[in-house]
């Protein structure tokens, strides 16, 4: 029963990780940058929601929606100010610049809000079904994640902009010949990535307290997830997310949370050594 409970929680956690992995893969597959400050985007989202809900007493839902919008905007600004000007620069410059944004964001939050943990007081019940205990916050996060992923899938495969995003990811030059403006696609992708980070932040509201180093832990987990599934593969990211989610939660329950963390990375190392491109990794396209 404990295992089943764990399994369920693992799946729920995996759902939210999947949203983050999706955002990372989208950005990597289309804009071809490694989004180092993605975890920090989630952190900023949580801080914004904290300010709006706790300080300014906005309704929770509105706070979340505004939080999502602001993170999307942050991502766009970072794209215009840092990413786009460096797209033709050597990779090392890109990496360092993106890592710098990461540090800037962390320290900005440290300066503004201090080093302490800021919890957002949202209390959701725990469901008791027989011997299972499931937190509603996790359920909402999971359901929300599935819905988000479903909508994204429809958007990417049924709309012109979605198809344009695929086209740029697969063959940028050919996409230009289809009258697709790659800059617009990049902007749309970065906005989407930011939106997904903001959505993840909204789901984390009743689960985590935010602090200036919140991003770090998530960035590593998100990257492990993405590389495990195959960098640039949207489906791979989702798969990777569930694997990491389930493994981490199961092992945490059976052993301890430290071992749980470790287990995920051990699995990751094993897969990377056996199959470096990840489970569903491939060249070109998302």
């Amino acid at each position: 029963m404990l295992i089943l409970n764990s399994l369920i929680n693992g799946v729920l956690y995996g759902g939210v990780l999947a949203v983050l992995a999706f955002g990372l893969n989208l950005v990597f597959g289309v804009v071809e940058i490694v989004h180092f400050f993605y975890g920090q985007c989630v952190m900023v989202g949580l801080y914004v929601i904290y300010v709006l809900f706790v300080w300014l007493h906005f309704p929770l839902l509105l706070s979340c929606v505004l939080g999502i919008a602001l993170v999307a905007l942050l991502n766009l600004l970072a794209h215009l100010a840092v990413v786009r000007p460096l797209l033709k620069s050597p990779l090392i410059n890109q990496f360092l610049a993106l890592a710098s944004v990461m540090i800037v964001l962390e320290n900005a939050c440290l300066v503004i809000w201090g080093a302490g943990y800021k919890g957002i007081p949202v209390n959701l019940p725990v469901l008791n079904i027989g011997e299972l205990f499931i937190r509603t916050s996790n359920l909402i996060a999971f359901a929300g994640s599935l819905m988000t992923l479903g909508l994204l899938y429809l958007f990417l495969n049924r709309t012109y902009l979605g198809l344009a995003i695929h086209a740029v990811a697969q063959d940028k030059e050919a996409a230009r010949l289809m009258a697709i403006n790659p800059n617009l696609v990049y902007i749309a992708t970065m906005l989407m990535g930011g939106t997904l980070a903001g959505i993840a932040a909204s789901f984390f509201v009743p689960i985590f307290a935010v602090h200036p180093h919140f991003g770090g832990g998530f960035t590593l987990t998100a990257f492990v997830t993405v590389v495990l599934g195959g960098m640039g593969s949207l489906l791979g990211g989702v798969l990777g997310a569930f694997i990491i989610g389930i493994v981490t939660t199961l092992v945490s329950t059976l052993a301890s949370s430290e071992v749980g963390e470790m287990a995920a990375y051990v699995i990751f190392l094993a897969i990377i050594l056996i199959r470096p491109q990840g489970i569903l990794g491939r060249r070109g396209g998302i």
Binding site: A164, A167, Q170, R176, L177, M178, A179, I180
Partner: protein
Amino acid sequence: MITVEKIAAGYGEITILKEVSLQAGQGETAIIVGPNGSGKTTLLRVVTGLLRPFSGTVHLNGQRIDFEEAHRIAGLGISIVPEGGKVFPRLTVYNNLKIGTYARRARNSFKEGIRTIFALFPILKDRQGQMAGSLSGGERQMLAIARALISQPEVILLDEPSMGLAPLIVNEVFRVIHEIKSQGYTVLMTEQNVKKALQVADYAYLLESGTIPFHGDREAFSNNPVIQKAYLGI
């Protein structure tokens, strides 16, 4: 109609096109033939905006386009069938055609356009849900042509449509090109298979070492002894 005037172009220090002038009039099929490395693909890259020329101009229906971004030029109506049947491998046949109508002018006509395309290319209708990357070479070429057609083009460019295809498939491709021509499209085509290309051409240009030493209508071109000897094996 498309007009290329005194184009010089190349890559960095290397000049591929020295001075090229040619045109395809409204409803005309103009072909550019010549050996490997003569600059045929470079010329098409200049026309589509993927390569900025060193000097010279390109005009589409009187509007100058050589300095525009490639996606804007495509939006104005220049549609190319690139060399080698290039399609988006991880999009379905259907979505490849759909993305062909991304340009504003073509979006509203997608529903009607796809009906026409499926009538013209029944094989594409059969395979519409398949990933384009899993099609055979000939089928991919057909898809690439269909994609150019569905985009409501002002001018259709074809870069060596017979390249890498078996003779039977080449015949199919040229049957389609002939159909395109008879529907009144303006076509500018580069080809190495001079014999086949001349069958659909109204006008022909010889491109050799970055210049056009000779051009003429189909009759004049076919009857030129130099062309006959070097390219038609006569």
